[in-house]
Symmetry: C2
Subunit: 220 residues, 2 copies
């Protein structure tokens, strides 16, 4: 039924619902209405319904949604019922942390390759996996059918490494380098710049706290 393209906003909310449902499941809740869910997690009930309705009829009128069933459906919908292989390139602090973060926790994701160009790091192990030279990435991607590349390299080499991953046949990229990558049409890239989140918070600090001073020009 998804003839209509799904928006990123909707999609991210589906992930959110998944998270909420997991929490409900852990607490032994088996049935929930959109209203109750909205109340508990500070969401919008009609939005939940509309988001879900895009993909089918998952609820029972007059009753609500079955938590286990909805969870399973959402997982299937998002493709999380099959495992997905990742490679991580760049094992500085952030890269290592992200590799570990994704390696533990999550059944749906498996880290199958670690790459760096620092000779001191090559050969070391992280979570039982050896760090290899970046030159081997194509071989590993081919061998493991890795779909996603996580890019945690310095900004000035990010483009080069992205291009390499594209060439290696990776299907999409999660980029932590603070650059706007020139993208291949074949390979979707999602950039996550942690600094942007801080900057967002700072702006609201100023504007909430200092409504009084906001009248004076804030330049310079």
């Amino acid at each position: 039924m998804p003839a209509t393209a799904v928006s990123c906003l909707t999609l991210n909310r589906l992930s959110l619902y998944l998270r909420c449902l997991r929490q409900l499941q852990r607490r032994g809740v088996h049935r929930i209405s959109s209203q109750e869910m909205a109340r508990r997690f500070d969401l919008s009930a009609s939005q939940i319904r509309k988001d879900l309705a895009q993909f089918g009829e998952f609820g029972i009128r007059g009753v609500g949604y079955d938590v286990d069933q909805l969870l399973a459906r959402l997982r299937g919908l998002l493709g999380l019922d099959r495992p997905h292989n990742l490679v991580v390139v760049g094992l500085g602090h952030l890269g290592s942390a992200v590799a570990r973060h994704f390696a533990s926790n999550h059944r749906a994701f498996r880290v199958v390759g670690l790459f760096d160009n620092d000779p001191a790091k090559i050969g070391q192990e992280l979570e039982g996996l050896a760090i290899r030279a970046i030159g081997e990435v194509a071989a590993v991607v081919a061998e493991t059918a890795a779909e996603i590349g996580v890019l945690a390299v310095p900004a000035d080499v990010a483009q080069e490494v992205y291009d390499r991953l594209v060439e290696a046949g990776i299907e999409s990229v999660l980029n932590f380098a603070p650059v706007q990558l020139r993208q291949s049409p074949r390979v979707r890239c999602r950039t996550v710049d942690l600094r942007i989140y801080l900057e967002e918070l700072v702006y609201f600090l100023e504007s909430d706290g200092a409504t009084s001073r906001a009248l004076g020009k804030p330049g310079r």
Copy 2:
């Protein structure tokens, strides 16, 4: 003159423009038009103009924008011309990496406190700063006038630690725990769940790659 509230989307784009302008500055570009900027970084020219126009007239008609000047203006606008103090709570892999990430790189942000509840970690140093017990957070926030708290603790204690930060007088929170926090109206909280980004990529993997199979029901 921001009498009008600025949307988050706009705000995040301003951060993005800042990043692009920095790159231009490094390359010795002194003047740029919205079109050229759009072309180089794969953005929309009219959107750039509209976003900037919300805050004043920064460009010169017929000419374009002065890179240095616009950079300075944006920095001021976003509040990045003053330093902001951070505390990081939870120094597992992700917390440590984020602490280091924010401690280096960025002039506008200063990490002034590190907290954990693991006795093995307390007393250790990270980037020249000692890790302290979470009980001391109120004192440190008061003493350093820290504005932002970075939350990198396990999901099941995130709410508790958030509440503690609120009580300690922190002004906003960047949360990496995958939970929907019950928020204080006083303290803005931005949650960043790295897993959501992966899930987004996975969805598009399925839907791009498998347009053929998308006709069959994707359930189960």
